[in-house]
């Protein structure tokens, strides 16, 4: 199969307009004859479900959460980008496009990214109309802040809860359609498989998480808006329930998985405090504007500090190493996320890390407090300092914060064409679940933008083109393919419950996380990846022979739910490793130690690797097959990023 991205011909700035015009339409009277399944009610899913229902389609929306409002999107803090140029500081659609392509280290599609920048302006209008209380200036107009990787102020925000407010906006639009009877909501329902009829996605099989019932749902198209897979690392900033199951089942049915190894590791998270740790908490990136990152200059000092023999505030200036300022004099503490994360890892690997674990660096506000006064710092970061104190028990006004990088976002995901359709006809992927817009590294405040762009402004147009050539005949859930898929799900449940081994599901998840973090995390080597691959194969065997899942299917059963998800994470982990091994270059969040400049920076290989790696599932325990979608750059010049 040749991957056809369906990028429209013509000049970059006209592609989307032309494409919309050339797409087929479904006439209003016919729309009500079509059914669309939306799996996931985060930003991407809720906005898509609401918009499609408004158009007249009959929508069924599924979420494993108890309410659509709980989706992981709720946790986004910082903000959402849009090329409004309200600040008159030189922003434009082209500049947002350019920043995103460059930030992604030239591994994203020009046409998709341009469209994203183009519709970004409409998102803000839409959200304001819904009653999203964005931050405002005294004159009553919208406020903006700046974010990493950009030289203009284009980020809109609602205090530190932007994701919450945007999701509640989309949730309200969705709720209106539920009240109108155009959306039927299925909370606490987990999608377990996609059902294919004659090569097209025609429905899903779900497990009702309260009763255990395996249910069939049919439709003319299926949208997966199921979020990212950062929890493959066990510890991440993602919500506990975030998982890859929906995408992975689709993958096994024929949807190619693109760039699985592209993961983003965020530099400013609260460090791990012990083995009990269940998740990591992000501290806003904005802290790097005033905090200085450092570790002790020598291993010996670091060790004394870890053992509690000396006090951090007694370490003299000349015994501190402000390593980012030293290595990157022009960007200093504000280097991009991947660079900041990697350097923290280096100093910890050298034995100069702090905290009892040795896996943390300082983020110090002493000088900023001295310079601007405590009250200024408090007004800027007060809530973050409080949150830090609540979690760690330490007061960042008195002692430096400790931070360490953590897995935060996955750029990889299901391969989609320009219409957001996967390689399975009728199956779409939106939001973090697809791979489309961020290349090898995502810029801050652009995931929210992408989720809402996909749901509000892209899918309502592109789905029509597909449905217009699909007969509106109802799809029957008594079709043998539904029965088959449902039986497979039931068998799998039985199998998991029957193993009755000795180790808990979490035991395997933690083990997988360690392997992935050590070998497929911030820095990767061919040797380490090969070792990890063997370990994961073994882990999979152990899981299926020794996992202990208690209880029955016919009840709320959290360990059974989790067992399904961890089983899929293990398989995904192996594919991520294959992908990382295949990509013999460093780009964005993917850093292969063999490929670096003499100064230790990521070294891209545009000649051989300017492509999207899309993987095709070939069967149980078979190696997956690689398909390449070449990336063509007609509007930007590829350059080496430098932050020195």
């Amino acid at each position: 199969m040749i991957l056809d991205s369906k990028i429209p011909a013509g000049p970059l700035a006209e592609k989307w307009t032309k494409h919309k015009f050339n797409s087929k339409l479904v006439n209003p009277a016919n729309k009500r004859k079509y059914e669309v399944i939306v799996v996931g009610t985060g930003l991407a899913g809720a906005s898509a479900a609401a918009s499609l229902a408004e158009l007249g389609y009959n929508v069924k929306a599924f979420t494993f959460h108890d309410s659509p409002r709980r989706a992981h999107s709720i946790a986004a803090q910082g903000g959402i980008n849009a090329a409004k140029n309200y600040q008159n500081d030189g922003d434009s659609v082209f500049r947002l496009f350019y920043d995103t392509i460059k930030g992604g280290d030239y591994r994203a599609r020009e046409a998709n990214v341009y469209r994203l920048a183009e519709v970004s302006v409409k998102i803000i209008d839409q959200c304001v109309a819904q009653g999203v209380p964005f931050a405002r200036e005294y004159g009553g107009l919208l406020a903006n802040r700046s974010f990493g990787g950009a030289q203009v102020s284009r980020t809109f925000y609602a205090r530190g809860q932007t994701g919450q407010q945007l999701l509640l906006g989309a949730y309200s639009a969705l709720s209106r359609q539920v009240a109108n009877g155009k959306v039927k909501l299925y909370p606490r329902s987990e999608m377990m498989d996609v059902v294919m009829i004659d090569g097209h996605a025609r429905g899903i099989v779900t497990r009702n998480l309260i009763t255990g019932a395996v249910e069939s749902h049919s439709a003319h198209a299926v949208l997966l808006c199921t979020g990212g897979y950062g929890n493959v690392f066990y510890l991440s900033t993602n919500a506990m329930g975030s998982n890859v199951t929906a995408a992975w089942r689709a993958h096994k049915r024929g949807a190619y998985f693109a760039n699985p190894c592209f993961t983003q590791i965020h530099p400013t998270c609260i460090p791990v405090s012990g083995d009990h740790q269940s998740k990591l908490t992000l501290m806003s990136e904005s802290l790097r504007n005033d905090g200085r990152v450092w570790v002790p200059a020598t291993k010996e000092t670091a060790e004394k500090l870890r053992k509690g023999q000396i006090n951090v505030n007694d370490i003299k200036e000349e015994d501190r190493d402000y390593f980012l300022e030293r290595k990157y004099p022009s960007f200093g503490n504000l280097v991009p996320r991947d660079v900041a994360s990697r350097n923290a890892k280096y100093v910890c690997d050298e034995g100069r890390g702090v905290n009892e674990t040795g896996e943390a660096v300082f983020l110090d506000f002493r000088d900023a407090i001295k310079r601007d006064g405590k009250s200024t710092i408090e007004s800027k970061y007060g809530n973050l300092f409080d949150m830090y104190k609540q979690i760690t028990g330490e007061d960042p006004y008195q002692v430096p914060m400790m931070i360490y990088p953590a897995v935060h976002y996955t750029m990889g995901g299901l391969w989609v064409d320009y219409n957001l359709m996967t390689t399975i006809p009728g199956l779409y992927a939106l939001g973090e679940a697809n791979f489309s817009d961020h290349g090898a590294n995502r810029l801050g405040a652009s995931a929210l933008m992408q989720g809402l762009a996909d749901g509000y402004f892209v899918i309502p147009y592109t789905i029509g083109d597909y449905l217009a050539s699909t007969p509106p005949k109802p799809v029957d859930t008594t079709h043998p393919e539904f029965q088959k898929a449902a039986t497979e799900v039931k068998n799998r449940v039985d199998q998991l419950l029957k193993i009755n081994g000795k180790k808990s599901v979490d035991y395997f998840h933690k083990k997988l996380g360690k392997i992935m973090w050590n070998e497929c995390g911030m820095a990767r080597t061919a040797e380490g990846l090969k070792k990890a691959k063997a370990e994961i194969k073994q882990l999979k065997k152990d899981f299926w022979s020794d996992v202990k899942v208690l209880g029955t299917n016919e009840e709320l059963n959290l360990s059974l739910e989790k067992a399904h998800r961890v089983a899929d994470f293990i398989e995904l982990g192996e594919l991520m490793i294959d992908d990382a091994l295949n990509r013999d270059e460093s780009c964005g969040g993917h850093f292969r130690e063999e490929f670096q400049t003499p100064e230790g920076e990521a070294l891209r290989d545009d000649e051989n690797f300017a492509y999207v790696a899309a993987w095709k599932y070939m069967g149980e325990n078979q190696e997956e097959e690689l398909y390449k979608e070449p990336l063509v750059f007609e509007n930007v010049k590829l350059t080496q990023r430098s932050y020195k």
Binding site: R69, Q126, R136, S175
Partner: protein
């Protein structure tokens, strides 16, 4: 730390349920309350006993999924969510009683998990501005005074956790409902449907079986997001002016 946990166990909605006592050891003060329960559950699993079911997801205090009535207080001793509560708030040797939210409108699903979909139905009754996607004015077309936008944001911060209901002796959902009514009543975008919104949401709240508000303020005191009871006063004004000149026919 060593602790004794008295936890409400209930197999399903129809089971009668009751307290079961579990000792836990090896609890560190840096653990969050939910991580402490994770430890208990790992131990139970090892012994082949069904783990204690509780709701949670973000563990950052924002999704509103976690609940738990801890020693007689929703979300425990601090004014924060259970996931943001750490074991340093407890002392070695302490007995901790853990129950689900208790309210007729929040039926128990299993153990500590309750069904809060009544909140969704209150929002579905009118907690939105009826605008479709596209065709809306430019975001800066209507300036909104910062003070008003800030007040709307204060109300909009509600995470839908239900602690207000759990804290109230009447199991009233006034704080939750009024937070949404206020947010939209304050903003110019919410004006058109202002009257019908208050009326419909209040009617739904009553239909769900939430109790009446007798102004004890227990909800505000326990709300992890500091939602103020001035919102309830605002909603009452909205509601009474609506029923006087009802547009709902």
């Amino acid at each position: 730390m060593q602790l004794t946990l008295k936890i409400w166990r209930q197999k399903n909605a129809s089971d009668k349920g009751g307290f079961v006592t579990y000792p836990v050891s090896d609890v560190s003060k840096d653990m969050s309350f939910l991580e402490m329960l994770d430890v208990l559950n790992e131990n139970l699993t090892e012994k082949g006993e069904d783990p204690v079911h509780f709701d949670h997801d973000c563990r950052e205090g924002i999704c509103g999924t976690c609940s738990l009535y801890i020693n007689g207080k929703p979300h425990g001793p601090l004014q924060t969510t259970t996931c943001q509560l750490h074991m340093r708030s407890f002392s070695d040797g302490q007995t901790i009683t853990i129950e689900p939210w208790r309210a007729k409108a929040f039926p128990i699903v299993k153990d500590l998990v309750v069904n809060r979909s009544a909140f969704d139905r209150i929002i579905q009754a009118g907690g939105y501005v009826s605008v479709g996607t596209g065709g809306v004015p430019d975001a800066n077309e209507i300036p909104i005074p910062k003070t008003i936008a800030d007040l709307a944001m204060d109300a909009a911060q509600c995470i839908g956790c239900g602690a207000c209901v759990a804290a109230c002796k009447n199991a009233s959902a006034m704080l939750f409902t009024s937070a949404k009514v206020s947010q939209l009543a304050l903003l110019p975008q919410g004006q058109v449907e202002r009257k019908t919104r208050a009326e419909k949401m209040v009617a739904q709240m009553d239909a769900e079986g939430f109790g009446a508000c007798t102004n004890t303020g227990a909800c505000e005191a326990e709300c992890p997001k500091g939602i103020s009871i001035t919102n309830i006063a605002r909603m009452n004004r909205e509601y009474f002016s609506a029923v006087v000149s009802s547009e709902n026919v």
